[in-house]
Structure formats: C-alpha cells, structure tokens
C-alpha cells in the first residue's frame, strides 16, 4: 500500500485534471475535448472550435493554476508540520497568509489593484514575505531559531496582520469591502497566464528542495539534538524550509487568495496512510494537494452554474466532513 501511495496520488491528480478539462457549465462531448486537447498540443487533428476555445482559454488555465496552488499548499503544509513536529501547524503559523492578506487588502483599499494585473499579486507577495521575515527575526536568538519561539512569534505577527487588515476593512467603502471579502474567500477564477507564470518558479523552488527537506525532517523527528548528531545542519534546514515555504505560499496566496484547509488537512490524510516518513509524505502531499484543489474548483464551477462558488468555501465544505469521517474511522491508527 505505502509503496504505491505516490502512484495512487498521481492517479487521483490525473483523474481530477481530466474532470477539470471535461466538465464545466459549457457542455462539451468527450470527443470534442480530446480533439481540442490534441489541437492545443499541436497535433494535426480536426477539432470543434468551441471546444478548443473553452478548454484552451478557460478550463486549462484554471486547472493548471489550481494544480500549482494546491501542490504548493499541500507540500508547504507537510513541511511546516514536519518542522514544528506538530500536526496542527500549517503555513498560516508563519504569518504568511495573514501578511499576504494584509498586502492584498491594502492594494484593494488604496486602489493599486486596479492599476495593473501585477499589483495585487505583488503586494500580497510582499506582505506575506515581510510577515515571514518578521516572524523569523523575532524568533531568532544567538543564531538559533527555536521552533517554540517561532510558533509564538507567528501567532503574534498573525494577530498584528489581522488587526491591521481589520482596520483597512473598517476604513473601506462598501464596494471595496465586497471586493475584499470575496478575495478573502479565495478563487482561481481569474486564472491568467501571468498568475500561472508567477507560481511556476516558486513551486519549482519547493520541489527542488524536497529531497533535502525530506532527509532533514526525518532526522528532526527524533529531536533537534539527535538530528544534529545525525549530521543535519538544523538551522540551515529551518531557514531553508521557512524561506521556501514563505516564498511559495506567499506567491500562492497573492494569486488565488487565502485558500484554507488544503495545507492543514492534506498532509494529515497522507500521514494516515503513510505514517510519518517524509520521503513519501512530501511528494504524496504535493500530488494530493493539487488533486484536491483541482477537484474542488471543478465542483465550484459546476454546483451553482452558471454562477460559481469561491473555491476556498468548497475546499472546506467538501474537505472537512471527509476529514472528520477519516479521523473517526482511524482513531487508533492516528496516534501521531
């Protein structure tokens, strides 16, 4: 079972992607979708122009954006939980989502968001990164960053970011208020090539660091001192994880809004099947996170069509009961 887990997760992602391309408010026969994909791939096949247009310009960018964002959130969640050795940690504890939200909400309030397609992602990203830097700065002493201090610093910075966001929200007029509350629900609806290209390098950064993180986090499970004895550069590991997670999650939140649940729960579900070893946990969380967000977005597009739900509401609405059922079924095995 465990050995096949990455294959199962990859199959789920493939299934979710097929569903995302085939399903939507515009009804397309499967044959047309396949033809459209062929033509988009540059194959000399005849295709229905409507199918090419809908699949190529609307569904594919959304599916790719959702997959990238879900992959980053799933992996970042697993990394954060590993670093804190705490299954309740998620990327939010580093202050990233709070800082990114403050940046994005400020961009809407001051009207930057309307100036350029880059403005909202940029301010969100800067906010997330600034919050993460502040957290690690507060937590650091004598060149070391104890995780307990890091957690407390994260709580403090998150609270600060939330209160500042509240002040901006209070000062907003009703139209900005509606934009802000919709942004805070998270959506991949504005999937454009720009947002996808923003995410690619950050997702790649996390993936490149994955083998290094997996070895270090496995050693860290034994305890900080023990990890040092095993030859793990513990402060390098912490800085690497925090830095990469902050950059990648900051980029995701700035592009799609603060989508909850994926980063917290996907690693849990993966751990139920796989146990705590990071060599499998990290790649499986990545694939499963991508699969979950792609599936949730397809659901969001279909359930109230021709309208659509913010995907952040869907991840919680379909994920939470599923997760609760899993916890109830495997209480004994769960002793994490």
């Amino acid at each position: 079972m465990r050995r096949f887990a990455p294959l199962v997760a990859a199959a789920l992602l493939a299934l979710a992607l097929v569903g995302a391309l085939a399903l939507g408010p515009v009804r397309l026969p499967v044959g047309d979708v396949i033809g459209a994909l062929g033509q988009l791939a540059g194959l000399p096949v005849a295709a229905e122009p409507q199918a090419v247009a809908v699949v190529g310009a609307l569904r594919m960018p959304r599916a790719i954006l959702a997959a990238l964002a879900g992959a980053v959130l799933g992996l970042a969640g697993a990394l954060t939980q590993g670093l804190f050795r705490n299954p309740l940690a998620d990327p939010g504890v580093l202050g990233i989502a709070g800082g990114a939200s403050l940046g994005a909400v400020s961009a809407i309030f001051f009207g930057f968001a309307a100036l350029s397609v880059w403005a909202l992602p940029a301010t969100g990203f800067i906010g997330g990164l600034a919050a993460a830097l502040l957290v690690s700065r507060i937590a650091r002493s004598d060149g070391r960053t104890p995780v307990a201090t890091l957690l407390l610093a994260g709580i403090a910075v998150n609270a600060l970011a939330m209160s500042l966001t509240g002040i901006v929200v209070y000062a907003s007029d009703d139209r900005q208020l509606r934009d802000i509350s919709l942004w805070l629900m998270g959506s991949v609806g504005g999937a454009t090539a720009i947002r996808i290209w923003i995410l690619v390098p950050f997702a790649a950064l996390l993936l490149v660091g994955l083998p290094f993180f997996a070895r270090g986090l496995d050693a860290l499970m034994l305890g900080e001192r023990e990890a040092v004895h095993l030859g793990v550069g513990i402060e390098t590991l912490k800085a690497g994880v925090i830095g990469c997670v902050a950059l990648a999650v900051g980029a995701v939140v700035s592009c799609v809004g603060p989508i909850g649940f994926v980063g917290l729960v996907v690693p849990h579900i993966a751990r139920m099947f796989l146990g705590p070893g990071h060599r499998l946990l990290l790649p499986v969380s990545t694939l499963a996170g991508a699969a979950l967000l792609v599936a949730a977005d397809t659901f969001a597009r279909l359930v109230v069509a021709p309208a659509e739900l913010p995907v952040g509401l869907v991840t919680a609405a379909i994920g939470a009961p599923f997760f609760a059922a899993m916890v109830a079924r495997s209480k004994r095995r769960l002793a994490i």
């Binding site: 408010p25 988009l40 090419v52 247009a53 907003s172 919709l182 109230v304 069509a305 913010p310």
Partner: protein
C-alpha cells in the same frame, strides 16, 4: 494562447452573424439594467441575470450568473449570449477580460445616481438592443415623471434629515454616508442625508446616531427582514437614545425599488418625497407598465 482566444472570438462572431444585427441572447448584470431591458420590451431576449436582478418576476426565474462582483466566465458563456450588459461595479475585471477575449460584446453602463444617468443607461440599452425608439419614449416619460416630483418638492422651509440604514444578516446595521445611492435618493427627494461625514457605508454607533438627529430613518424591506422586523429595529440601542424625543419615523421600501436606479426610480422618488414632506402635496405619478412585477 493567442490562437485559442482567436478561436473563441470566431465562435462568438459566428453566433452574432447567425443572430443578425440585434443581439438575441442577452445577459444582464445589475438590477437597473435588467429592468430597463424589460421596460424596452426586450425582456424575452434575456437568458441570464445576476443575483441582484429580482424584478420583474420573470427576470428572477432566469438562470442566475451569481453575484455581480463574482461572475464566472464559463458560466456566462454556457448561456451562449451575444451581448452582456453590466454595471460599472460588475466584475472581477479578469473575468470581464476573459469574456471580452471570448468575443462577447460586454457593454459597461456608466454609473451615476442622477436621473440623467438613468436616462443615459436607458439610451445605452436601447441602442445595444435595437430598441432606440422605445428608449427615446421611455427617457421622455421617465424624465417628465422625475420633473413632476421635483417640481412639487417644497423649495422653502427646513429640509427633513433622513438617515439610511442597511442591514445584512447578523452584523450591526450600516449607515450610508456621502456618494451612495441612498444618499442621492434622499437629496433628490428634498431631504438632507443626516450623515455626511464619510463616504460609503459604516457601522451604526448609537452616539453618532443621536448626533445625526434624523427626522426619518429610511431602510429597506430586506434590511427589516434581516434585523427581524420593525420592532427589532426600534429596539436597537441607537434608537433607545432617540426614544425620548419620540419623533423619529421609520420608512422602508423594497431595496431594488428604492436603489435599483432603473425606470422605477421616478416612482420610488415620488414615494420617498411624499413620505418625508407630509405637509406638502406630492402628486401621484401615472401608473407605468414597468412597475408591474408580472411585466
């Protein structure tokens, strides 16, 4: 990417050609625009409306494209429209851009709460739907109705102070400041917006309420329902401060009627003016077909 967008464009161009010169399948985002389309006699061409379009009844049963600030590109395209009418606050911008790239003609109505802005939107919808003469007639009727109301509003004497309250769900009711539709209606009806210290909406605070010293509290039927009725509104702490004076009067209208800024605005203005100037006779306006819910 460019080739794909060109494909979307060809697709929509083809549907427009098949449909002929005037668009036959229209999507409207904004209650005022939906009402104008109906008043011009093009209501049967609507194939989808946003969630604010609650009037007339047959618009409210059309497929809903969602809240007008959170539209979905593929959802709208699935209705196979060849024209989309949208208010300036419809969005998000990325979705409107996707729709435009798909070749859908998206017309944004100029915003504005003045009667002239409503008339301009009537003209815009008229030319977009090929109902120019109907639009010209509707404009004349609408503006003359407005003029009759405004003519009857007393020019001299103290103007009543009116405070507009908006409640949605369990949160504290919001008070409208300057530059809002509610404020524009109050001023046009010959009143003073009792709160002009800020733009837009802010939560109600009891002391600010007392300072505003309103003669009338204006609200919507939907807000009253959200609060739990007129008694619940009067039981708010803010009202307790004024209870001793006992002269504040609560007025409520359907929200789309009062704040839709469509063809019914003349009648809404008349009702509001008559209510806040009880001593002056404000003439009743002739009944118009677009006032009927079953229209």
């Amino acid at each position: 990417m460019r080739a794909v967008l060109a494909g979307l464009f060809c697709l929509s161009a083809a549907t427009i050609c098949v449909a002929g010169e005037t668009p036959q399948r229209i999507v409207a985002a904004g209650s005022g625009l939906t009402e104008i389309v109906h008043a011009l006699g093009a209501g049967d061409r609507l194939v989808g409306v946003d969630s604010t379009s609650l009037f007339p009844t047959r618009a409210s049963v059309l497929p809903q494209i969602g809240y007008l600030r959170a539209l979905s590109a593929e959802g709208i395209l699935s209705l196979r429209p060849n024209l989309m009418l949208a208010t300036e606050d419809a969005g998000p911008p990325a979705v409107l851009e996707q729709l435009r790239s798909a070749g859908l003609a998206v017309l944004r109505a100029r915003e504005g709460f003045e009667p002239e802005a409503v008339a301009a939107r009537i003209a815009m919808v008229g030319s977009a739907t090929g109902k120019e003469s109907e639009a010209a007639a509707l404009q004349v009727t609408f503006l003359s109705d407005i003029a009759r109301v405004q003519h009857a509003i007393p020019a001299a004497g103290p103007k009543p102070r009116v405070l507009f309250l908006l409640a949605a769900g369990s949160a504290v009711p919001m008070v409208s400041g300057r530059d809002t539709g509610a404020s524009a209606m109050i001023v046009a009806a010959g009143g003073i917006n009792a709160v002009d210290a800020y733009r837009g909406y802010k939560p109600l605070t009891p002391e600010a309420f007392a300072t505003a010293a309103p003669d009338f509290v204006l609200t919507t039927e939907q807000s009253l329902a959200a609060l739990g009725g007129r008694e619940a509104l009067l039981a708010l702490p803010a009202f307790a401060v004024l209870a001793r004076s006992g002269r504040v009067q609560v007025l409520s209208y359907d929200s789309v009627y009062l704040l839709g800024f469509g063809p019914r605005t003349a009648h809404a203005l008349r009702d509001l003016a008559a209510a806040i100037h009880p001593a002056s006779p404000i003439p009743t306006l002739p009944h118009r077909p677009w006032l009927e819910a079953g229209f």
